[in-house]
Symmetry: C3
Amino acid sequence: MINPFFKNCGPFRFSELLKIIKLENAKFQHDIEVLDIKDLISSNKNEITFYHSKKYKDAANKTKASFCLTYDSLKNDLPKKCVPLIVENVLFSISLLTAKFYPSSVDDKFDNTAKLIDETVHKNRVQFGKNVLIGENVSIGENCSIGHNSIIEKNVKIGSNCSIGSNVIIRNCLIQNNIKILDNCVIGKHGFGFFPNKDNNLRYPHIGIVVIEDNCEIGCGSTIDRGSMSNTVIGKNTYLDNQIHIAHNVKIGKNSIIAGQVGIAGSSVLGENVKIGGQAGISGHLKIGNNVEIGGGSGVIKDIPDNSKVMGYPAKNFRDFLKENR
Amino acid sequence: MINPFFKNCGPFRFSELLKIIKLENAKFQHDIEVLDIKDLISSNKNEITFYHSKKYKDAANKTKASFCLTYDSLKNDLPKKCVPLIVENVLFSISLLTAKFYPSSVDDKFDNTAKLIDETVHKNRVQFGKNVLIGENVSIGENCSIGHNSIIEKNVKIGSNCSIGSNVIIRNCLIQNNIKILDNCVIGKHGFGFFPNKDNNLRYPHIGIVVIEDNCEIGCGSTIDRGSMSNTVIGKNTYLDNQIHIAHNVKIGKNSIIAGQVGIAGSSVLGENVKIGGQAGISGHLKIGNNVEIGGGSGVIKDIPDNSKVMGYPAKNFRDFLKENR
Amino acid sequence: MINPFFKNCGPFRFSELLKIIKLENAKFQHDIEVLDIKDLISSNKNEITFYHSKKYKDAANKTKASFCLTYDSLKNDLPKKCVPLIVENVLFSISLLTAKFYPSSVDDKFDNTAKLIDETVHKNRVQFGKNVLIGENVSIGENCSIGHNSIIEKNVKIGSNCSIGSNVIIRNCLIQNNIKILDNCVIGKHGFGFFPNKDNNLRYPHIGIVVIEDNCEIGCGSTIDRGSMSNTVIGKNTYLDNQIHIAHNVKIGKNSIIAGQVGIAGSSVLGENVKIGGQAGISGHLKIGNNVEIGGGSGVIKDIPDNSKVMGYPAKNFRDFLKENR
């Protein structure tokens, strides 16, 4: 749970947090100040965490958090020093508390702090087009250019030798060095994450950011959403073609090549040196190994081991696909 | 046939209209003023309508229109008070007449009436970014925000508590309350509708609008086209992810969830509480029932009944899809 | 190899070029000035060309180039007057030399020569919106309109009666007459072409342009990349719907209709009167005949002969597709 950009509005009194998750009538012995909200691994004393699936049992065993939102059936996996807070829906409750600590991560209104670059410290260091806007808490390295009408909203760090195209919108994003972001991209908005709710869905906070590592290129009209509880990461020297959609929490390894109109759903993790043909789609929460090749138009709905070549919908071994479709 | 925004340039003399559809030599007894052009159900006395398929026989029986473009084979379905106008191609002829009544609905040039918001009455009521443009005949409710470089072209009504992102373009659109429209959307342009014609296709008019009901969210880079003879509708509390394309006349029911890069072709109607996975496509003129789930990547080419779960290309029962692809 | 827009920085001494392709130690008898770099057919005396596949043997036999990058196995197909330059990777070497002759074709930074249209000669002849930018070497015909925030970067020729929407970005493009380009398109950026290279891919130059012929319409949010060594061409009266991606070197014949979200990969050539349903994809380097119909959602991975109707993934005869999926 890394939040270099979103402001932690805590600490909050434990009793205040209990009201939010409707546990105000539960009996607890203390009413200390709770400092922060993090995942099982990152959290520390006087912080709150959450544990909602046996998949994370090992991390739960070792968490240093003082409090943990969880289910009755899971509470025994927690260390004795960690107080279990039994709720009906862990993800819903963590969402409410995250919104309390990080209210600015819920809403994605346009950044009204953004100013014309001429009115900022960046004007002498960056090559820029007409009508370029820069928000607060933005840093930009040496030898960068930003095209016409582009908006670098608040909470963006750009390294050196980066070229941002025109009509680009970036927020909550860490962009390393030698990176090209082509025209019309939108990078760093919140993901498509919410709790469906009759007549009025409840959005959950996105406190992750987008990290784009050295030497990447992002094609025109692509969208890369920031993470909810972890970051969205595009690995070093990975190239994305036009009109690609990368959902929240996705991680793509280095040296990968992704052709036009590909979509990768939330929380999937791709290895290094992955090649994906045009219009392929990858479902959420999957693990794609290193050196995997995915044929154009494929629909990947299960994990793919290292060094595989797949194609089809659903994607299968490439030779089998060819054989069946001779 | 609802046209709250397009100006009716009628009435026109009946004889003038006959020339346009090459019936000037046909003998009719009267040359009255024709007031408007509408569909079978909405039209009234001294108005013109059209009837081109047996599918609409019931409506044809009851139409109150004084004139009806139709085929010889269908004319007997019309009431006696309705004068049939027999043409070679009903849709082509109705297109010509609609263009006569509503010329501004044919062309989709940029709105040159749009002014900087600072120069309009909206400047004190809306939170807005740099370079925001507002056209004529635009109303905006309480507590709305409009991001940088966005263009609200003419003929747009926005309710209260709406948040419009940056680089958004909206025209001919009715946006209700508590709606979020994210960056880079284009909403309300004419649909992809025209008569193919050697070396120079003929565009037909689009006099419908886009209606977005309360509590919806529309993801980045999505396009929603306005209707041709009826409206395009996004139902209450329906959420669209990024890079979605909704074609003209599509109607989506309330509480639906549509993942990234989905495309819905013209005139399809979706029920309530529909869930669609990423990159799925739905062909035109289909009926998708309530509570339908459509798996990611599916290609839907026929109607889907209520409460079904489908996947595949072409989409079929979900269990069958899984079984066949084990 | 047509380069009306990119400036040839040659001539260069032959010995200088040899160093670039690591042939400085090879013995050649002359050190003349080399004028240009072109394909086998277009090149002339004192120019350099390349020959990397038997597929082009006929052209190689007849080339008038004085020098030719090639492989040892192919060199005997060249005329005696043409000096073979044997390299390890012809495409990589031609890429290096093209970058030498046409350095401005490698980089696609925003055009910092672009000025507000009010400050250019176009202001009295074009109907334009707010914040329209025009680069160097742009010509615009009679009766054209350009929407708000659109950027016509350098090296664009627009004919008469063209309507460009808002937020459009165009560069290196020849737009003929009566053409509509709708909002948010990006046309003429370099294609997705590079040599993968550990930790730092090498982009190759794109010296082709985009040609859009008379009476075309390009839908919102579409991207059309310019060619690498030849042009990308959209034939007369061809209509593209929204969110379409056309990759480098693609050629589409006249009177074609392409529905939303279609993607066509690099170097494929489509005939006339082709109809493609929504979300279909066409792999690279294919030949699609005249009067071909491709169903929505299809994935085309091999050539399609004239007058065929196909559907499926992979695309097959339409009747077979229906039969298998009853």
